[in-house]
């Protein structure tokens, strides 16, 4: 469905409305992020039985603002070995996708402003969900280039880890999004939200059978590099990760982007799996209730993110990769097939289910086998190494002899070889 705003041509009012939408979303996001930083600190300190920030403003609510001002006026350091252009570019590459993703999230219903029907979202492209995936895959660049351009080893390690992690989890995330698209028959975010109205049991989380939601949540957390997947900035190992060398406003941008991504990811989860602004409303202020529902649902997820950070320890790196590649991707792929089978016929459903279970068994057996094979190799490595070395030396000697013989193909070769024997 095309945007109703542009249905009757583009006039000054329409352009003005579009600009207002952009500015409003920008401002709201910024304020939300400031608040979110404060909320996180407050909630975590509460969970850890501390008080948390309580000096700046009532309940310390202005603490983020104070921190921001401090960072803004700090000295801007540029490492000597840094790649200057990219070092300065990287924070923006992190920040911009975080903003842009939010443009396709429907935050409310359709309202009428000055005779124009206006969707409460900045843009509603027909492939909105792909736009979202595209931008989330682009957001890798900021992290990656920040680490590389610092010209320092820990940031590089951190950024390599981060980008490997983000790429790994993108596949599982994409597949769980496909499950939603399969049920809503549209790629437009507004269409997805509309398909989930008006009853809560039509929400994506139910129609796709919960598993895609769980996978999306886990993968989304990994994409955000939030605990328990925050190996990117594991302090013990990496001295703070890809942004070690950053300071002042550039560091603030990374910090901002991290929280903004958190808000965005929560909003996307609400959009895909929880009906977006869908929910019961009242007769007065009809335009307000959807927005409140949306904000409320998003808030729940934001709180859960903070909660997870306080509760869960960090994963080990190989475990992280194992979860991504050996569990989430096969699971989401298998579940996608099951949903597709259910979409066709009950017979298909059970057929596909059987096939997927069989494939899962084969996969787990193959993983077992590879583990046992590795153990066997480790066992034989000790005594195998000696024989292998001997074998190689023997082969090399033979090869050298043969090349020597073929090189000196004159009659002298015969005496040489005779001498060797």
């Amino acid at each position: 469905m095309p945007d109703p705003l542009f249905a009757h041509g583009v006039g000054l009012a329409v352009i003005l409305i579009a600009v207002v939408k952009v500015v409003a979303i920008f401002a709201v996001l910024l304020v939300t992020v400031m608040m979110m930083i404060w909320v996180e600190r407050k909630v975590i300190s509460d969970m850890q039985n501390r008080i948390g920030p309580n000096r700046a403003g009532p309940f310390g609510i202005l603490q983020s603002l104070a921190d921001g001002i401090k960072l803004f006026f700090k000295e801007d350091l540029l490492p000597e070995r840094a790649d200057r252009i990219i070092f300065k570019l990287a924070p923006y590459l992190t920040l911009v996708p975080a903003f842009l993703i939010f443009t396709v999230v429907p935050v409310g219903g359709i309202v009428t402003i000055a005779g124009h029907a206006v969707e409460l979202q900045v843009a509603d492209p027909p492939m909105g969900i792909l736009f979202l995936l595209a931008l989330s895959s682009v957001s890798v660049y900021g992290t990656m280039l920040a680490g590389w351009s610092s010209g320092s080893k820990y940031p590089l390690l951190g950024s390599v880890r981060a980008s490997a992690q983000m790429i790994s989890y993108e596949a599982a995330m994409g597949l769980s999004v496909v499950a939603v698209v399969l049920q809503t028959h549209t790629l437009s975010t507004r269409g997805i939200v509309l398909a989930q109205a008006p009853h809560f049991w039509k929400w994506g989380v139910f129609t796709t059978g919960i598993i895609p939601f769980v996978i999306f949540w886990i993968a989304g957390t990994a994409e955000l590099n939030r605990p328990p997947f925050d190996l990117v900035e594991g302090e013990q190992e990496l001295v703070g990760g890809f942004n070690t060398e950053y300071s002042s406003i550039r560091f603030a941008m990374f910090y901002l982007a991290e929280f903004m991504n958190m808000v965005t990811m929560s909003a996307i989860m609400v959009t895909l799996f929880f009906g977006g602004p869908d929910g019961p409303g009242f007769h007065f202020l009809r335009w307000l209730w959807p927005i409140l529902w949306f904000a409320g649902k998003t808030g729940v997820f934001l709180y859960v993110y903070v909660w997870i950070r306080a509760a869960l320890p960090r994963l080990r790196y190989d475990q992280l990769m194992d979860v991504g590649w050996k569990t989430l991707i096969p699971l989401s792929l298998g579940w996608l097939l099951v949903i597709a089978g259910a979409d066709l016929h009950v017979g298909w459903l059970f057929g596909v289910l059987g096939g997927v279970i069989l494939a899962g068994l084969v996969l787990s057996q193959a993983l077992n086998v590879s583990r046992r094979r590795r153990e066997l190799e480790a066992e034989t490595a000790g005594r195998g190494r000696v024989t292998r070395v001997a074998e190689q030396i023997r082969l090399r000697a033979l090869a050298a002899a043969s090349t020597a013989a073929s090189a000196s193909s004159s009659s002298a070769a015969s005496t040489d070889e005779g001498g060797e024997r």
Binding site: M1, P2, V10, D83, I85, I86, L89, P125, P126, M127, L130, F131, L133, A134, L135, S137, V138, V140, Y141, M144, L145, W148, G151, S152, K153, L156, L157, S159, V160, R161, S163, A164, I167, E170, T186, L187, S188, G191, L231, G234, Q236, E237, L315, R316, Y317, D318, Q319, A381, G384, R385, R388, V389, E391, Q392
Partner: protein
């Protein structure tokens, strides 16, 4: 094909369309030039992303939204990321040394071929060619969603077989990658010198990442002097010593990491 030609577009399109086209076209062309002219491979890769985004905008301009999104996801999101990965891991991210050109003729040949290709494209773009255009994906200016739907439909009807055998292609690519990436059996330590330190450095990065976590979870971070022991296991550091000699001299970041593996920590260096 209609509207794709610059002349045609500027003649028939609205002002915003023309402006969008101009901006996107400039972005693409500047990016493409940057890819070729940058000395630093990382800069080239970034310029490539710029070009890809410009082209994606052009696709949107042509109402091919799906193509635009897929372009960004596949090329910018996956392929160039892998480029950068390889550049960073292999440590070839230093400026290309252009002093020693192995084949001096190839530069002129490249210029000649580039000019030839450009001439061809211009020639093709200027002409008014008869086309048997009955479009596959339905009306160009459909009603938004329809475009994607019709594309999906043609994939599962008239292009069903190509779509399905693509899966065989992907399987082959995976097998091929595994076959080539796997090291020959029985060459863990006593690796053939002809394979060289290139493989070693890759191993260290992968292994270093894996064992780093274990070190952190188990023994905790080491002392300041052996701080790197958690990141690189002693066994690998033997390899590292060998590889480090070559890599450090080349001045790559990973060379520095490998230097670390030899036990010279950054803390010590600062003190001394």
């Amino acid at each position: 094909m209609h509207g794709a030609l610059a002349g045609g577009l500027l003649a028939t399109a609205t002002v915003p369309d023309a402006l969008t086209f101009a901006v996107a076209a400039i972005i693409s062309v500047v990016g493409a030039l940057g890819v070729v002219l940058s000395r630093n491979p990382v800069h080239s890769a970034l310029m490539l992303i710029m070009t890809l985004f410009g082209v994606a905008v052009l696709f949107v301009e042509e109402d091919a939204q799906f193509l635009a999104a897929v372009q960004v996801i596949v090329y910018a999101g996956a392929i160039v990321v892998l480029f950068l990965f390889v550049i960073m891991l292999l440590g070839v991210d230093r400026n290309e040394s252009i002093a020693a050109e192995p084949m001096p003729a190839q530069r002129w040949l490249a210029v000649a071929l580039g000019v030839l290709g450009l001439a061809e494209v211009i020639l093709l773009a200027r002409g008014k060619w008869p086309t048997g255009a009955h479009t596959v994906a339905g009306p160009l200016h459909g009603t938004g969603q329809a475009n994607v739907a019709v594309l999906g439909r043609s994939v599962f009807t008239s292009y069903l077989l190509p779509f399905e055998i693509t899966s065989a292609l992907l399987v082959i690519a995976v097998i091929g990658a595994v076959v080539l990436a796997r090291r020959p059996r029985g060459s863990g330590e006593d690796v053939d010198p002809s394979i060289g330190p290139r493989v070693d450095s890759g191993e260290i990065v992968a292994g270093g990442g894996g064992s780093a976590g274990r070190g952190g979870a188990g023994a905790g971070a080491g002392s300041a002097g052996a701080g790197s022991a958690g990141a690189v296991s002693p066994e690998q550091s033997i390899q590292a010593e060998r590889a480090a000699g070559e890599l450090v001299t080349a001045g790559e970041p990973f060379g520095a990491v490998l230097k670390e593996a030899e036990g010279v920590s950054i803390v010590q260096r600062r003190e001394s």
